[in-house]
C-alpha cells in the first residue's frame, strides 16, 4: 500500500516551484567569485558584461513576466495578512486589499485560539503530532531505503525501481477509498494512526534519497571504509549519514509541507473533531457558515489560516539554506 500522503501533489510542486527560483538564482551566481565590490562599480561591470554571449544581461520581458508571477503569487498572501486584521463586519464591508476601520489582529488571534473551547489549539497540536510522526517517520524510512537501494546490489532492484516510479505517479485521491476500507477493516479508521501510517510512505522521498545517495556517497569511500574494517552500520551512521544531510533535509521539508497541508486523507479517515488537523478544522469552521443555525466565523477562519501557514513559512525560511546546498551538490564538477 503506497499512498502519496499529500493527496494533492500539485500543491507541493507549486510550493517548491516558487521557492525553487531562489536556489536556482543562488547556484547560477555561485561560480562567480564572491568578492565584495564597491557599489558604484556594479553598473559599469554589468554594462560591460551585457555584450558577452554567456551573460546577456537582464532581459526586460523576462523581468516583467517574473514580476507579474511574483505579484500573482504574493497577492493572496498579502490579502490574507491584511484581512486577518479585520473584524467580521469590516471583512464584509471594506476593500479587500486595504486595512479596515480598526486593527483587530491581536483580538482576532486571541479569539481564534479560544473559540469553541480552544479547538484551534487542539488542532494545532494534532497537526504537530501528524507532522512529527508522519513526516519524521517518512524521512527516516526514505533515507534508510534510498541508501540501501543506491549502495547495495541485490536481485529485483530494477523491479523495486519500477514500483517506486509507478507509485510516484499514482494520485493519492485514487487510493483514498481503498485505504479507507482497509483501515476501517483493521479498526484504525477515526484514530490518529489512520493519518500517521499512510503518511509514513513517501515514494517520492525514497526516489529522491536514492538518487541523492548515488550522487553524494562515492562508492570508493565506502570501499575504503570496508577495507579499514568498518561494519555496515558504522559506515552508514558515521560516513554516509553526514554526507546525506542536505538530501535528508530536503525530504524532511517535502514531507513536512505535505503532511501539514494534508486534507484529503484526514478528511476521509477522521470523523472526530478532537483528532482533526488544522486543515479539516478550518474547513469545519467554514462549513458552519453554511448551516441552518450555524454561526459564520469568517474572521476567525482567515486569522486561523494565517496562523496555519505561519509555521510552515518559518520552517521553509530556516531550512532553505540546507536545501539549497542540497540541490547544488553534484551540479559542479570538482
Amino acid at each position: 500500500m503506497i499512498t502519496d500522503p499529500t493527496g494533492r501533489p500539485a500543491d507541493t510542486r507549486e510550493r517548491t516551484g516558487h521557492s525553487g527560483t531562489d536556489p536556482g538564482g543562488a547556484t547560477a551566481g555561485s561560480p562567480r567569485p564572491p568578492v565584495a565590490r564597491p557599489p558604484h562599480a556594479a553598473p559599469r561591470r554589468r554594462r560591460r558584461r551585457a555584450h558577452t554571449p554567456l551573460d546577456p544581461g537582464p532581459s526586460v520581458p523576462l523581468t516583467l513576466v517574473t514580476g507579474l508571477v511574483l505579484v500573482y503569487t504574493l497577492l493572496p498572501l498579502v490579502w490574507l495578512v491584511i484581512n486577518a486584521t479585520k473584524d467580521q463586519e469590516d471583512l464584509l464591508d471594506s476593500f479587500g486589499l486595504w486595512l479596515g476601520k480598526d486593527f483587530q489582529l491581536w483580538d482576532n488571534i486571541s479569539r481564534t485560539l479560544t473559540y469553541d473551547d480552544g479547538a484551534f489549539v487542539r488542532w494545532t497540536l494534532n497537526t504537530l503530532l501528524y507532522v512529527a510522526a508522519g513526516a519524521g517517520g517518512a524521512t527516516v524510512l526514505a533515507v534508510l531505503g534510498g541508501y540501501a537501494l543506491a549502495v547495495y546490489e541485490f536481485p529485483g532492484r530494477r523491479a523495486v525501481f519500477a514500483v517506486v516510479i509507478g507509485a510516484v505517479a499514482v494520485p493519492g485521491t485514487a487510493l483514498a477509498v481503498p485505504t479507507f476500507l482497509m483501515f476501517s477493516g483493521m479498526g484504525l479508521a477515526n484514530t490518529p494512526w489512520a493519518v500517521i501510517i499512510p503518511s509514513l510512505v513517501s515514494p517520492f522521498g525514497l526516489y529522491l534519497m536514492w538518487v541523492f545517495t548515488a550522487q553524494a556517497v562515492p562508492s570508493e569511500l565506502l570501499e575504503a571504509a570496508r577495507i579499514d574494517g568498518a561494519g555496515e552500520l558504522r559506515i552508514f551512521f558515521r560516513i554516509a549519514l553526514p554526507l546525506l544531510a542536505p538530501g535528508t533535509v530536503t525530504v524532511l521539508l517535502f514531507s513536512m509541507v505535505a503532511t501539514w497541508n494534508n486534507y484529503f486523507l484526514p478528511l476521509i479517515m477522521i470523523k472526530d473533531p478532537d483528532w482533526y488537523p488544522l486543515t479539516l478544522g478550518l474547513n469545519a469552521w467554514s462549513a458552519q457558515a453554511r448551516t441552518a443555525g450555524g454561526e459564520p466565523v469568517f474572521d476567525l477562519i482567515i486569522t486561523g489560516s494565517l496562523l496555519t501557514i505561519a509555521p510552515i513559512v518559518i520552517v521553509f525560511l530556516l531550512l532553505q539554506r540546507h536545501w539549497q546546498s542540497g540541490l547544488a551538490a553534484g551540479s559542479v564538477k570538482e
Binding site: 467580521q88 463586519e89 471583512l91 464584509l92 464591508d93 485521491t173 483514498a176 477509498v177 479507507f180 476500507l181 476501517s184 477493516g185 479498526g187 479508521a189 477515526n190 476521509i268 470523523k271 472526530d272 473533531p273 469545519a284 462549513a287 458552519q288 457558515a289 453554511r290 448551516t291 441552518a292 443555525g293 450555524g294 454561526e295 459564520p296 469568517f298
Partner: protein
C-alpha cells in the same frame, strides 16, 4: 470554484459507496423485527455511550441535558460534516462495516435514500409510531418511507418571505403578496438602484423544488420501487414561467447562498429578500448582525392571489443507522431530543420546531425578535407551518438528483437554456440514474410541450 470541484469528488465517492452499499445491503438478510419500548427503558437504566453525528448547533445543550438526566449515559456529539459530506462519511462507514454512529442527523430530502438503502433502523417497534400526532404533517410524512418510520423530525423549515424593510421603505415598494408582485418589486428595486437585487439565485435544487411544491407541482411520485418524475405539471410550469422572467431580466443577484458575498449582501441590503425556511432568523442574527432592525418576516408570496399555500425548505431529522451497536439507547436519545423537554430546549436556543406542542405554545408565538424590530415573527412562521401543501415526496435518491442539479437546471442561469429545458434535462438525468439503480421509472405522463 474549489468547493464545487471538491463537491464533485464527493459525489463520485458517494456514488461508488452507494453502489457498494447497495450490494452489501442486498447480500445480508434483514435482522428482522427487534427492539421494543421496554428495551429502551432498560437501555437507559444500563447506560452506555451514544455517538451522534450531527451539525445542528442546539444539540449541544440537548446532549448535556440528557447526560444530566441519565448520568450513566455518555453522549458523544461529533460534527462529521454538513449535509452531503456527512452522508458520504455515513455511507462510507456503513459500507466499511465499522465506525458508523449510533445516531445521525439526516435532512428530510435524504431520508428516503438511506431508508431504501436499508441503512436505517425502522423505529416503530421502539415506540416511534406513538408520536404520529406530535409533529406537523410535512416533517412527519418526510420521515416515513413505505409503512416504516425511519427517523424522528428534529426541526422544520416552513417557508416565509424575509425582507429588508429599510430597503423597501426607502424606494416606496410594497411587500409582495403574490409572485407576480414579486417580479414587479424586483424590477422596481433594480431600476431604483442597479446594485439592488430582490434576491440571489445561482441555481439551488432545494429552493427550486420548494417553490414547485408551493406552486402545487408534485414532480416526484414514489410507490415502493416504482417512481415517476414529471416536471410538466401545471405547478412546475407556473414556477418556471415566473422565475424565467427574473432570470431573463437579470433581476437575481449572481451570488451563491451561504457564501461570504451572500452574508455581505444580506448585511448591506443589496439582497433584499429571501424566501426560505423558518430556521433563517438564527442565521441572520449571527451572519448579518449589521442589518439588525432592518429585516422583517412576511408570509410567502402566493401563486394565486389570496391563496394560502406553503412549502418546506430544509429541515432535518435524527435517525438510527442499522449499524448502531446500541439502538435502544440511540432511540432513547433521539426521542428525548425531538420531543418534550429536548425539543423545547432546542426552540429556546433558536431552532424552529417540528412539534405541534411547541408551535402552538403561547410563549413561542408571543416571543418578540429584536432582530426583526420586535416583530412576533413566530406567528407568521407557525402559520406557514400549518399551510404546508400535502402530498409532497422526494426521490429515494434525491441526494444524487440534487448533485446533478447544477449540470442541468443550473445551465438556465448561465446560458440560453430555459428553465423548462433545464428541468427536462434534470428529469432525464434523474430517470436514467433511477433505472440504473434498479427502480422502475414511469415514463412521463402527458407532456404538453
Amino acid at each position: 470554484m474549489r468547493t464545487r470541484s471538491r463537491r464533485r469528488i464527493f459525489a463520485a465517492v458517494a456514488a461508488t459507496c452507494a453502489l457498494t452499499l447497495g450490494a452489501t445491503a442486498c447480500g445480508s438478510p434483514d435482522p428482522g423485527a427487534e427492539g421494543s419500548a421496554k428495551d429502551v427503558e432498560s437501555a437507559l437504566e444500563a447506560g452506555g455511550k451514544v455517538t451522534v453525528w450531527a451539525w445542528e448547533p442546539t444539540l449541544k445543550k440537548v446532549a448535556a441535558d440528557f447526560e444530566k438526566k441519565y448520568p450513566k449515559v455518555d453522549v458523544e456529539l461529533v460534527n462529521a460534516g454538513t449535509g452531503d459530506k456527512q452522508y458520504t462519511a455515513l455511507q462510507n462507514a456503513i459500507a466499511a462495516g465499522s465506525g458508523a454512529p449510533d445516531v445521525a442527523q439526516v435532512e428530510y430530502y435524504a431520508v428516503g435514500q438511506f431508508a431504501i438503502g436499508k441503512s436505517l433502523q425502522e423505529l416503530s417497534p421502539y415506540g416511534a409510531s406513538a408520536h404520529d400526532q406530535a409533529f406537523t404533517t410535512g416533517p412527519w410524512s418526510a420521515v416515513k418511507y413505505g409503512k416504516g418510520i425511519y427517523a424522528l423530525p428534529m426541526d422544520s423549515g416552513p417557508m416565509a418571505l424575509f425582507y429588508n424593510k429599510k430597503v423597501f421603505d426607502r424606494y416606496g415598494i410594497a411587500v409582495p403578496t403574490t409572485w407576480d408582485e414579486y417580479v414587479e418589486a424586483a424590477r422596481a428595486l433594480h431600476k431604483a438602484d442597479p446594485k439592488l437585487y430582490i434576491t440571489n439565485d445561482t441555481g439551488d435544487a432545494g429552493a427550486t423544488t420548494s417553490l414547485i411544491w408551493q406552486a402545487g407541482g408534485r414532480p416526484y411520485r414514489v410507490e415502493g420501487t416504482e417512481i415517476g418524475i414529471d416536471f410538466a405539471d401545471a405547478g412546475t410550469a407556473q414556477y418556471a414561467r415566473t422565475w424565467q422572467k427574473l432570470i431573463d431580466e437579470r433581476l437575481l443577484a449572481p451570488v451563491t447562498s451561504w457564501s461570504d458575498e451572500w452574508y455581505k449582501g444580506l448585511s448591506d441590503g443589496s439582497i433584499a429578500t429571501l424566501s426560505t425556511g423558518a430556521w433563517m432568523p438564527a442565521n441572520l442574527v449571527t451572519g448579518a448582525p449589521a442589518a439588525s432592525g432592518d429585516w422583517r418576516v412576511a408570509p410567502l408570496p402566493q401563486w394565486t392571489k389570496g391563496a394560502k399555500a406553503g412549502a418546506e425548505n430544509g429541515g432535518s431529522s435524527l435517525a438510527v443507522p442499522k449499524a448502531s451497536k446500541n439502538k435502544a439507547l440511540a432511540y432513547a436519545f433521539i426521542e428525548y431530543a425531538t420531543t418534550g423537554a429536548g425539543a423545547t430546549s432546542r426552540v429556546s436556543e433558536g431552532a424552529f420546531p417540528a412539534t405541534r406542542a411547541d408551535l402552538e405554545s403561547q410563549a413561542f408565538l408571543d416571543s418578540p425578535f429584536p432582530y426583526f424590530g420586535g416583530q412576533q415573527a413566530n406567528r407568521i412562521l407557525a402559520d406557514a407551518a400549518r399551510d404546508v401543501g400535502a402530498g409532497w415526496s422526494y426521490l429515494p435518491y434525491q441526494v444524487y438528483a440534487n448533485s446533478v442539479f447544477n449540470d442541468t437546471v443550473g445551465k438556465a442561469y448561465v446560458s440560453s437554456t430555459s428553465l423548462a429545458q433545464g428541468l427536462e434535462a434534470w428529469r432525464a438525468a434523474s430517470a436514467k440514474y433511477g433505472k440504473d439503480q434498479g427502480f422502475s421509472v414511469a415514463e412521463q405522463r402527458g407532456r404538453t410541450t
